[in-house]
């Protein structure tokens, strides 16, 4: 029985080793790495439970966005269709008809266009809603066993991220059926996905910790999510809302206050328009994701010290 007992190293923190004087952010981060099996198990649990009791099971995660896509298509491309001539050109000839060419392309490939917006947004919205309750909803375990609490929020977001990745199969099928020409810029997708994930992890960590001290957040979030949805260029393009006052463009303001605008815009640029996302714009988007993750993580660690007493 004792033969498979692993020897603990003499120094340095190992699984189960703990020193209340050495619980810095870095130590906590290493702790998280040691509990990676738990991240894996909880993520698997979340995925398993999500569709376990429904008849179509996992397929729902693919059918759902397709149905949404259909609704948006009917509303915005059939009922509220922008007047576009049937033989319009998708390639702009002069600087004046850039916008017309854009609208022409959107009109002709509306399903692909809208799905590229819906899928990342679904991931964002569900990460916020589920991440928010990740810690509060597991109060009973938290009060009984120690494990890095951030695992709860992280595994929630990871589960949703895997869902998102699987839904990308549908997206590429739609892009293919819709005859949207993919360019080499589509190869930037993994990079964008990674930083989008980091951004969502940061947001979920921040919110899951904040809601412990400020329970009203759960109620306010419903409104905030809806507002966020309409402030993100999903149903429209950034060019549609372009205005300029005193040298400041609305687009720039929106990009600054809403990182999701940058993310969705970049998804569209590399997958739909097939154009080069500007280097500095992409860099800023990625840095936003990274910084949000780091700040969210630090906020989580700092505020959940006394979580065992607060819950």
């Amino acid at each position: 029985m004792e033969t498979n007992q692993t020897e603990l190293p003499k120094s340095g923190l190992h699984v189960g080793e703990f020193d209340s004087d050495r619980s810095s952010i870095v130590q906590r981060f290493l702790d998280l790495w040691r509990y990676r099996e738990l991240v894996y198990r909880l993520t698997a649990k979340n995925l398993k439970l999500r569709y376990k009791s429904s008849f179509l099971g996992f397929l729902w995660s693919l059918i759902n966005p397709l149905l949404m896509m259909l609704v948006y298509y009917l509303v915005f491309n059939v009922l509220l269709a922008t007047p576009v001539s049937p033989n319009c050109s998708e390639v702009s000839i002069g600087p004046d008809d850039t916008r017309a060419a854009l609208h022409c392309k959107i009109y002709n490939h509306y399903t692909a266009y809208i799905l590229i917006g819906i899928l990342p947004w679904n991931f964002t919205a569900s990460s916020v809603v589920e991440g928010l309750m990740a810690v509060l909803g597991n109060a009973s375990i938290i009060k009984k066993v120690y494990f890095p609490r951030e695992v709860l929020a992280i595994s929630n977001v990871l589960g949703l991220f895997i869902n998102f990745l699987l839904a990308l199969i549908i997206l590429f099928a739609v892009i293919f059926l819709n005859n949207v020409q993919l360019t080499p810029f589509a190869l930037l997708l993994p990079l964008l996905l990674l930083f989008h994930l980091l951004f969502m992890l940061g947001v979920a960590l921040f919110l899951s910790a904040l809601v412990i001290y400020f329970r009203d957040l759960a109620v306010i979030m419903e409104v905030l999510i809806t507002a966020w949805f309409f402030l993100t260029p999903i149903l429209y393009t950034m060019e549609d809302v372009y205005k300029e006052w005193n040298g400041i463009s609305t687009a720039a303001v929106m990009y600054w206050i809403n990182p999701m605008a940058s993310f969705i815009q970049t998804y569209r640029q590399i997958l739909f328009y097939g154009v080069n996302p500007e280097f500095f714009f992409t860099l800023r988007t990625c840095l936003t994701g990274l910084v949000t993750f780091i700040l969210g993580y630090i906020f989580f660690i700092k505020t959940t010290r006394s979580i065992g007493e607060r819950l």
Binding site: E2, N4, G16, E37, L38, V145, Y146, F214, G308
Partner: protein, 524 residues
């Protein structure tokens, strides 16, 4: 928020760190740990509360030091018990060790994986199968996949779930759920095990299984941290006990030292004077007696206890008289000499006198054969307790309240599941000391407290440890072991005793227990 004291403590601990790193033989180390709880009377967690309380005095919180400057180390492989009244800080220490809460000041170091049996089945998800839950639970304790795969088979085996292991846990019976929870917690094989009064749950058989498993862990060199209100459990498992009072460690020492102090504080001091005679008893051999030089004694006037006592007695006497045996089957008489000195017992029948030597605090059995079935009297040098053995269950209720109770022969084997129910019929509690007298060993003394009007149920097998007698006793080597003990109970106030048992099986009588007749003297 760092106070000067904290800084000093930190510097001090850094200075000794070098030494400690060289020999990390500790499992848990607390240095000057304090924990402050702020009890907020109205916690402002909603917007409404914040707005309402904006203009109010904010000082509505109350400070409460759950722990004050507590320092201790627990060596690897040792068992430490925490004892103290409610609110003394026991649970706070457990929560600090398991990292559920963090200390306000001071330093805590834990060296090894901690598994806490605070509640069985914590973290089980009802929709997941038993298999998934085992792996999830292992991951919560910080085990990686390889380590869990090594343990998986053992957990399934221990839980006796068999083919139900792939069924969602929500379809399990509560018994299956408990078994899985316990199997996971104990077989997960942690370095440090924390037990917080979970042993009180479950039926007698389950409780026994828990005790056995903990005994195994202790032998396997695991470190145990144990919180209990039952002094019996503490005395049985712990190498060391810390007595906590109002957040301070008041005493540390061996269970007997600290438990006495704890009982002294929580109970009437006169209790300890009452329990004095039980302090010494070394194992004694039956020595041959010199043949009596005096003339044969005429049968003395016996006391008024002509009936056989069925299950223990509150009565000790020098003289006992027994009429003709009411039953035809073979009967035995169990004798207990509760005094410190061995004493000589003479048995008078109509035709002869037999003489025995009765060791102190050791069970002895007398076989009633031949002319002993026709009635006899017993005469002892000091007061002794007598009981018929094996006793019949029908008469196991004893309706008199008394301070001293004697059970000259107690069947320890698990088949009978004999337990002792002690009731002190008043609102206040009372202290009870029981001496468990095994043949050939010094008696083991344990103290208990009865609770407000509730019966105290003791399972002597559990209290004493089942190292001697395994449940069922199927294997040959266990058959050899002792199956009965004598029990001697002293209470600070009169208590009612009831013996609870299920089915009754006649025990095989151990040869070594029988009294050897040393001399026979024919009467005139």
């Amino acid at each position: 928020m760092t106070t000067e004291k904290q800084l000093q403590a930190r510097q001090a601990s850094k200075m000794v760190e070098g030494e400690l790193a060289a020999e990390p033989e500790y499992a848990i180390e607390f240095s000057n740990v304090s924990k402050l709880f702020r009890i907020q009377h109205e916690r402002k967690t909603t917007l409404q509360d914040v707005v309402i309380n904006l203009f109010r005095n904010r000082g509505t919180s109350e400070e409460f030091w759950a722990l004050k400057e507590v320092s201790f180390t627990l060596e690897k492989g040792k068992t430490l018990g925490l004892i103290g009244q409610n609110g003394a800080g026991k649970s706070t220490i457990l929560k600090l060790v398991t990292r559920i809460i963090e200390p306000t000041s001071g330093r805590i170091r834990v060296n090894g994986r901690v598994s806490a049996m605070l509640e069985l089945g914590t973290g089980f998800h009802p929709d997941l199968s038993g298999r998934d839950n085992i792996f999830l639970n292992g991951a919560i304790y910080g085990f990686n996949r390889k380590e869990m795969k090594e343990r998986y088979e053992r957990i399934v085996e221990f839980s006796e779930l068999g083919r139900f292991i792939d069924t969602p846990v929500k379809h399990y019976s509560s018994g299956m759920y408990m078994r899985l929870g316990f199997a996971t917690a104990i077989t997960v094989d942690p370095d440090i095990m924390i037990i917080d009064e979970v042993l009180a749950v479950g039926d007698a058989a389950f409780s026994r299984k828990c005790h056995n498993a903990l005994g195994d862990m202790k032998r396997a060199g695991k470190t145990l941290l144990f919180v209990s209100h039952a002094p019996g459990e503490i005395a049985r498992f712990c190498d060391d006990v810390i007595y906590l009072s109002n957040g301070k460690a008041v005493a540390r020492g061996t269970p007997s030292e600290v438990l006495d102090e704890y009982m002294m504080v929580t109970m009437n001091p006169s209790y300890f004077q009452a329990s004095a005679p039980l302090s010494v008893a070394a194992p004694q051999k039956i020595e041959p007696l010199p043949s009596p030089t005096t003339a044969p004694v005429s049968p003395p006037l016996p006391d008024n206890n002509g009936q056989l006592i069925e299950a223990g007695t509150n009565f000790i006497s020098r003289f006992w008289r027994f009429g003709a045996s009411p039953r035809q089957e073979e009967n035995q008489l169990a004798l207990l000499n509760p005094s410190e000195k061995p004493c000589r017992v003479q048995l008078h029948t109509a035709t002869e006198t037999l003489s025995y030597n009765l060791s102190s605090l050791t069970p002895a059995v007398l076989r009633l054969e031949g002319n002993l079935n026709q009635g006899f009297t017993l005469e002892a040098e000091t007061d002794i307790a007598v009981q018929r053995w094996p006793e019949s269950l029908a008469d196991s209720k004893l309706k008199t309240a008394a301070e001293n109770w004697f059970f000259p022969m107690w069947d320890l084997r698990a088949d009978n599941q004999d337990r002792l129910s002690i009731l002190h019929p008043s609102k206040t509690g009372c202290g009870v000391t029981i001496a468990y007298c095994q043949f050939g060993h010094p008696p083991v003394r344990r103290s208990y407290l009865t609770q407000l009007g509730k019966p105290l149920i003791l399972d002597p097998l559990v209290e004493l440890g089942s190292e001697n007698v395994k449940a069922g006793g199927e294997s040959p080597e266990q058959h050899e072991k002792l199956a009965c003990i004598a029990l001697f109970l002293e209470a600070t106030a009169p208590v009612l005793i009831e013996k609870i048992g299920s089915e009754r099986k006649a025990p095989p009588l151990p040869e070594s227990l029988e009294l050897k007749v040393r001399s026979r003297v024919a009467v005139g």
